[in-house]
């Protein structure tokens, strides 16, 4: 039971929810960049929340099914086709031996997710199937790879109410929790941060997203490296923000003005360079309430 990689041009990797418990060993969290699209892909197939999927960045992937199975594709519109015919996204689909699945150029968004019934069965490395190229854990998909998946014994799938399918074309506001050194930034500098439009630059990958805009400053003599949370916003020496993402190092030594709410990071994962964005404050209770609801719906539990 597998898919064969016919062509893989840019960056397609196996990812799951992440390598959550190896921070003390210096490892990144890793895992899918868009937790929303990922959770739906598995949910549509009635999979476990942590089942591994393929994260397809900017398209350029062709796979051939070696057996009949069920799949779901969510996330970016990367011109997904089955046997050269445009195929439905955000929906469970039955596919047959010999079918060719392909993703071309991005139309809307950045990353698409391919889930298969039962989940991909690639090797578990340090408690996760997530590939991390920076850490030399696993490799990106290459022509000729065989991607096996676990078996299944039931074929029902679920549906997504259409209002939950996101529009990745909109400019976004990222809700920011006041964390880390937030209180050490002066009120003037915080105002400058919250009252400007930032732009997503080309330096935007699985490690972090660098923004351009008007620089802000902090009066701090010396920062000592400390543990990094997914989504925390470093202010680099040039005064510009870097939002640290799934493949970021586990510790870092720049001051951090806050941490972006995780479900807004899912939306950020689908934004191309030059997208405009703003930050607004969010309190921890509201963030926990919303995230808890999400986790309960998708049965995400550790």
């Amino acid at each position: 039971m597998s898919f064969k990689v016919i062509k893989s041009s840019f960056l397609s990797t196996v990812q799951d929810y992440g390598r959550l418990n190896h921070g003390e060993h210096g490892m990144s969290q890793s895992g899918v960049m868009d937790e929303h699209a990922y959770a739906w892909a598995n949910h549509l197939l009635n999979n476990h929340f942590n089942d591994a999927v393929i994260e397809i960045t900017f398209g350029g992937l062709q796979l051939e099914a070696q057996t009949d199975t069920f799949i779901a594709v969510t996330g970016a519109d990367l011109d997904f086709k089955i046997n050269d015919e445009t195929a439905q996204m955000w929906h469970g689909l039955q596919i047959h031996k010999g079918d060719v699945l392909s993703w071309g150029n991005p139309k809307i968004g950045v990353r698409a997710y391919l889930a298969v019934k039962g989940g991909f069965d690639t090797p578990v490395l340090f408690d996760s199937r997530s590939v991390n190229l920076r850490e030399h854990i696993g490799a990106k998909l290459a022509e000729g790879d065989e991607l096996s998946y676990k078996g299944f014994n039931e074929t029902t799938y679920r549906f997504i109410p259409p209002q939950y399918i996101p529009n990745y074309n909109q400019d976004i506001t990222l809700r920011l929790l006041p964390t880390y050194q937030f209180n050490e930034f002066s009120i003037n500098q915080r105002d400058l941060f919250f009252n400007q439009n930032y732009t997503v630059t080309n330096a935007n990958d699985r490690t972090g997203c660098r923004l351009s805009g008007a620089p802000i400053s902090i009066k701090k003599e010396r920062m000592i490296s400390e543990g990094i949370s997914y989504g925390c916003v470093e202010i680099a020496t040039d005064g510009l923000p870097i939002i640290l993402l799934k493949d970021a190092p586990s510790i870092g030594g720049y001051p951090k003005i806050g941490t972006v709410f995780s479900l807004d990071l899912a939306r950020l994962a689908q934004r191309q360079p030059n997208t405009k964005l703003r930050f607004e404050l969010m309190n921890i209770h509201e963030a926990q309430k919303q995230r808890k609801k999400f986790n309960e719906f998708f049965e995400i539990s550790f």
Binding site: L20, N21, H22, G23, E24, H25, G26, M27, L125, F126, R134, E135, H136, I137, L177, P178, T179, Y180, I224, S225, E226, G227, I228, S229, Y230, G231, C232, P249, S250, I251, G252, T259, F261, S262, I284, A287, Q288, R291, K292, N295, E296, I300, S301, F302
Partner: protein
């Protein structure tokens, strides 16, 4: 005194001090163990660093305020307990040669030292592991003798070979895998510290110690060392 700040919707950061201090890594390591034992059902991950412990937790199981309260209770208990963590020392063989110590010649010239004195200064003490990070199993060791301290390179190298031993200010470290980096490279070990051997994942722990010893060019080459 301890200071607890929020680090995100599912993370807290506990500060044990505001300056780098050789007594902190052991304290933080002990406390991490204590938390693992007492709050294992809600804690997802712990990242100890120089002066702090980053705690991520399952927000479905506990609210931030409740976790703060529980952590504060653990901190109070800890203050009444003595050390429980046993510190291990790992011994690392290093070839300090100009062929593999890419910055050694410059360091010796700038510091007005001969190679023998440099080796003595770098190997005489067991270094404390202050933090693990930057990349998997990369241990930040300190404090390096002032006579051999050098700032990072102005431009990091694109590729530093696995096993390279470097110095940056008061810290020294081994690059476990090929990597980019800006530390001054003074030698290389033959030990495979990369994740190619999965057992290396917890070879180094914050609060443990590392001591280097010098091997000759012949020993290095005989055991498969590359120049």
């Amino acid at each position: 005194m301890h200071n607890i700040v929020s680090a995100g919707e599912n993370a807290l950061l506990i500060y044990f001090g505001d300056k780098i201090d050789a007594t902190l890594p052991e304290k933080i390591g002990n406390f991490a163990n204590q938390l693992k034992n007492t709050l294992s059902d809600v804690i997802v991950d712990l990242i100890p660093s120089y002066t702090s412990l980053h705690v991520s937790y399952d927000l479905n199981k506990i609210a931030e305020q409740d976790l703060r309260t529980q952590i504060e209770q653990c901190l109070t208990q800890q203050e009444s307990q003595s050390s429980v963590l046993e510190s291990n020392t790992t011994h690392i063989p290093v070839y300090y040669g100009l062929e593999v110590g890419l910055d050694l010649e410059r360091l010796l010239a700038e510091k007005n030292l001969d190679l023998e004195s440099f080796i003595e200064l770098h190997t005489e003490q067991a270094y404390l592991i202050y933090a693990i990070g930057f990349s998997p199993a990369f241990a930040f060791l300190g404090e390096v003798d002032e006579r051999i301290q050098l700032p990072r390179l102005p431009t990091p190298r694109i590729k530093i070979p696995a096993g390279s031993v470097g110095i940056a200010e008061s810290q020294t470290a081994i690059y476990p895998a090929d990597s980019s980096g800006g530390w001054n490279i003074v030698g290389r070990t033959l030990l495979d510290l990369s994740l190619n051997n999965p057992e290396n994942v917890d070879k180094f722990r914050v609060g443990d110690k590392v001591k280097f010893y010098s091997i000759t060019r012949d020993e290095y080459l005989k055991n498969g060392g590359l120049l």
